[in-house]
Subunit: 332 residues, 2 copies
DNA sequence: TTGAAAGCGCTAACAT
DNA sequence: ATGTTAGCGCTTTCAA
């Protein structure tokens, strides 16, 4: 049998209530009493039984973090940032992988409900209404990534894709480019749609005629072929890729056509799923700061559960243009 | 107030004991009764309060997974595999990042103890004795990566580095190489030591005189410089890198010296921390299957907690030689 | 085959 | 400033 609060109370010569209050700093205690309790805790190696605590207070110290795929390098950094924040507030992050499977996402939410979590961050690219409904019904604070409207118990993190595209185009225009093409993502993905729309809107605003736009699939291979097609139909001197993989594919394509990058073909990507260390030095990217997302996700939840104010909020995450330095020798 | 087991019992017209038993399949019930209960559960949208359950049974459904850094691409795959296994057994994986910080690792373990977890996988490259002691004291099943001796409540996963090095050398010898160099990792890392020792042992067994060996730091840059040094002091025609980053550095170095890889310089890496999609096509690697590690970690724990047999076991993970195909065009 | 009821370890309202 | 004690929702022994 593990050491319980009773043991500590006995050892310190106080009541369990006092021990509880000392440990949770939930009411004033004489320094001497406090001291005795802490000593007893130390001597016995006591640690609070969270199950009992959670049962008593009605909510756990766990926060759910639902991701479509932890293997996608976009997520580990978000996860780490989220956890670091949680730690500061004596919470744990329970990370759940859905593998892009809606049913599995729903199961995850059910399990989280059973675990009495007070809040959940759902950072998948699509969210079934049944999921958000279930969370809201249970009054569990939820935050989504670029998907939800703010509501009771519902916050949203808005990534400023438009800003990012603007930065990318601005960058290319300053380099003298006028013939700029776009390689988009899968047309069913909200974030892909927004980036494409932003490209056209901002190009128009800058008085630039887009040199073609082709939808692709956010992979290196897809980027390669889309770029190939684009180069055949138009003659862009620069390309904005819907994400970095696409952009890397475009760089490969340029290489095969003996177009020296970035001189003869400038490529800008959208750094939302790559592993920075392996990204091509020649690639300039609009970065979506991952730590910021993780941090915002936690804060969105914490805001709702710690204040008891169920009203959600909109959190905005800024993008940033990254021009990479070639620290290591250029890869073959 | 959430719907509780009492509500279900009332709705189904049975006792809470019956509901509990039906849900946990812990004793026979008449199909009709069973049916009623399940209907009530469905209608009310009931989900078990895990906190209460854990309190009653004395252990939680959470399993700890302690990692030094989730951002290291070695770990997400392990994590995913571990979680998938856990899911099959109705367990949750609580992933904790230590950021290579011993104190933080200790804190993590304390929190896990408080959470009443029945088992923990500690997949860091070093483990402080106080940590393993604390776990063993609390009779928490633990599994370590290539570190611990099997004991009560202690299992170990042994990665067959020797096998991997043997595969690498075998591969190179079959290609006709006789002058083979080695670029090792930090000399304080147990896994680096074992790889280096294996290199010498197996080279000797094959009757090969090693063409130099230089310790490095498991980074691309470090690999570059170590390779540079090695090429100046010896004339290897092939190199075994202690890990993939080192090997990639060696490839860069070969490129800068106009040594065409793999023809003029064959390089074999050890794929334990890279992100596969970005690894050089020219690189052959000894792969440590990450899913296997995650799966083994879960099974090691599950073995101990589900059978009630506290004796640990040794789990062995095989390596595999991977020769990459250039699916995408070679990067610039 | 089912039910009644005693805890599991903690918190928090109420008492002192 | 501290103690007493009634739950929190579930499991499980014992009884029917």
């Amino acid at each position: 049998m593990a050491v319980s609060i009773k043991d500590v109370a006995a050892r310190a010569g106080v009541s369990t209530a006092t021990v509880s209050h000392v440990l949770n700093q939930t009411r004033n205690t004489r320094p001497a009493t406090r001291q005795k309790v802490l000593e007893a805790v130390e001597e016995l190696g006591y640690s609070q039984n969270q199950a009992a605590r959670n049962l008593a207070v009605g909510r756990s110290s766990l926060l759910g973090l639902i991701l479509s795929d932890i293997r996608n390098p976009f997520f580990p950094e978000i996860t780490a940032a989220f956890q670091d924040q949680a730690l500061l507030h004596h919470m744990e992050a329970l990370v759940l992988n859905t593998n892009y499977d809606t049913q599995r996402t729903l199961d995850s939410v059910k399990r989280l409900v059973g675990l009495q979590v007070p809040g959940v961050a759902v950072l998948t690219s699509q969210v079934d209404p049944s999921i958000s409904a279930m969370l809201q019904d249970r009054k569990i604070a939820a935050v989504y990534l670029d998907l939800a409207r703010v509501d009771r118990y519902v916050s949203n993190i808005a990534i400023q894709y438009e800003q990012g595209i603007a930065e990318a185009l601005d960058h290319l225009v300053k380099l003298g480019h006028r013939r700029i093409g776009f390689l988009g993502g899968p047309p069913h993905l909200p974030s892909a749609i927004r980036r494409k729309k932003a490209f056209f809107d901002i190009a128009a605003k800058l008085g630039i005629e887009p040199a073609g736009a082709i939808d692709s699939d956010f992979t290196v291979k897809g980027g390669y072929f889309a770029c190939s097609k684009l180069l055949s139909s138009a003659q862009p001197t620069a390309i904005v890729g819907g994400n970095d993989l696409t952009a890397i594919g475009a760089l490969h394509c340029a290489f095969d056509r003996n177009l020296k990058a970035p001189d003869q073909l400038s490529v800008v990507g959208f750094d939302d799923i790559t592993f920075a260390e392996y990204t091509q030095p020649a690639l300039t990217s609009v970065q979506v700061p991952r730590q910021d997302i993780g941090k915002a996700a936690f804060q969105a939840i914490w805001q709702m559960i710690s204040t008891g104010n169920s009203a959600g909020q909109e959190y905005s995450v800024q993008t940033r243009l990254i021009t990479r330095q070639s620290t290591a020798p250029a890869p073959k």
